[in-house]
Amino acid sequence: MSTINTLPSAVPAQGQLRRNLVAAAFNLVLGLSCALVLGPILVIVFVSFSSSENFAFPPPALSLRWFSQFFTTPSLTSALLLSMEIALLAASAATLLALLASMALMRLPSPKLSAFLQTLFLAPLVFPTIILGLSLLLFYRVAGIDLTFGLILAHVTVALPYAFRAIIAELAAFDAGLSEAAASLGAPPLRSLWHVTLPLIWPGLLSGWIFAFVVSIGELNTSLFLTGPGFTTLPIEVFGYLQFEGAQLVIAAASTVQIGIIVVLFATIQSIRWIAGK
């Protein structure tokens, strides 16, 4: 009987120790990953509340002086405002286009064509955005398109796949039978959309919009080419400071403001998920 059993028999003490070590190593890696990913963000938030003139870690004392300076520096506040305006417009346009695209895909009877178009709509997600920015700059110059308008369009393109992903997932989960029921009750397509589809897919629409907004507000690579003096988004303004004027703490405050906006939006998305999941 024992000749059949060739499985390594456990040596209790030694095996236990090794298992504990392996488990500890995995815990360590997970903890380290979180620290590496979140650490830099937390450092910035922390030092933005510093009272000192120059970067010092840990800050000697806490204050809000860099925030008050941020809100009284016109170049920074106008950049924040522009970022918000562009994000608002770009996210709305991207959501609308993504909704149309998703509805078109749900109706296509051909799975092959549908898969191809899905790849097209998701393409800007993996396409190197720096090349897109460069292409758009050249294109706008040649076609004579205003760069302000062009910047919004660029953000729409970059944000579109994020909105599309959220919306198509929601639409795919939507029971097509409900649209048929509405039709059988006399609702033409647009009224069916308004009374039945939209009230049921709003969580997907809203989180798609927020994703698009977040992407736009942090967008760097296309904005790099399409902004200019006096016409800059906040991330590009921050980049300019970091590159040419050194890391002043007012930039930490600017970053913390951005992070704060993201926290609010991120929490909103999570609570939508939670409400919709109930």
Partner: protein
């Protein structure tokens, strides 16, 4: 034997018509503001440079041959590939281990960790790179901390080096790897592992023969995302690498700054070719074994 039946009938036609009507705006938008400009940029690289116009008049391959025969550019291409693949490899090892650990956690705890990894992705990369500047700089968190624990040598000079770029980009992109791998691990039926264990496989062998192959799609997604994003991370490279550390993306940017459109185009499309080439290799290498016979 009976009346021939047309292949596409009218319900299909109606569906196609509706889809075309709905799909026209987004498709047109992407063609005009995505595909067309990129195509135009490509053409610009195939024309003789003309300082008075965006795009030259005569067709030529000289822009490509000039750059591809220049040792400096080849060196940058190799450095771009090398740092990209290095970042992918480190992210894969750390990210896989982290995802593997997360998968074993209770769903509630796992969700919290997932949120911890999702949140940084929404924060602008310039802020995250700034964070690393603050940590790695001469008076940064790292050097201050070292001093506080009694180290009194010269301050570490990590910022403005390839190491800083690798650390920064790796951590900025790590969440993509963790999330992709975690998604794949989540879809693996627990019973496969239990079956392997019941057949006498040790945890390590179960991992090697069952879990790892079945998570290949997640590994593929993660490596692809991380590699592609390293290629266009101009701002991170420029902030953490400093003015003298150049990757391909920096050269693209420099060419635009000096209005060398043809050169910018050529460098861009070399970058795209790298992206495409590495993607194809990764896809071929990591395609799940069982998927060979499956149609697309």
């Amino acid at each position: 034997m009976k009346k021939p039946i047309p292949i596409k009938d009218r319900s299909d036609l109606r569906a196609y018509r509706q889809a075309a009507l709905l799909g026209a705006p987004p498709i047109a938008y992407l063609l005009v503001f995505f595909a067309l400009p990129i195509l135009y940029l490509f053409v610009a690289g195939l024309k003789t440079p003309d300082p008075t116009a965006f795009i030259g008049a005569d067709w030529t391959f000289a822009n490509y041959t000039d750059i591809l025969s220049d040792g400096y550019y080849l060196g940058v291409i190799v450095r771009t590939l090398g740092s990209g693949l290095g970042i992918v490899l480190i992210a894969l090892i750390i990210g896989y281990a982290a995802a593997y650990k997360m998968e074993s956690l209770k769903p509630q705890t796992r969700t919290w960790f997932l949120l911890l990894f999702l949140f940084p992705l929404m924060v602008s990369n310039v802020v995250r790179a700034y964070g690393w500047m603050a940590i790695l700089g001469r008076t940064g968190v790292l050097n201050t901390s070292l001093r506080a624990v009694g180290y009194d040598g010269p301050p570490l000079r990590i910022l403005f080096s390839m190491e800083a770029v690798v650390i920064g980009l790796m951590t900025i992109l790590l969440p993509y790897m963790v999330i992709s791998v975690l998604n794949a691990l989540n879809t693996i039926d627990r019973r496969y592992r239990e079956a392997a264990a019941s057949l006498g496989a040790s945890p390590w062998r179960t991992f090697w023969h069952i879990t790892l192959p079945l998570s290949a799609p997640g590994v593929l997604t993660g490596t692809l995302l991380v590699f592609l994003l390293t290629l266009s991370a101009y701002i991170t490279v420029s902030l953490l690498g400093g003015p003298r550390f150049k990757l391909l993306v920096s050269l693209v940017f420099d060419a635009v700054q000096t209005f060398q459109w043809a050169k910018a185009s050529v460098l861009s499309f070399i970058l795209l070719a790298l992206a495409l080439g590495v993607s194809v290799i990764l896809i071929l290498a990591l395609r799940p074994a069982g998927a060979g016979g499956r149609s697309k």
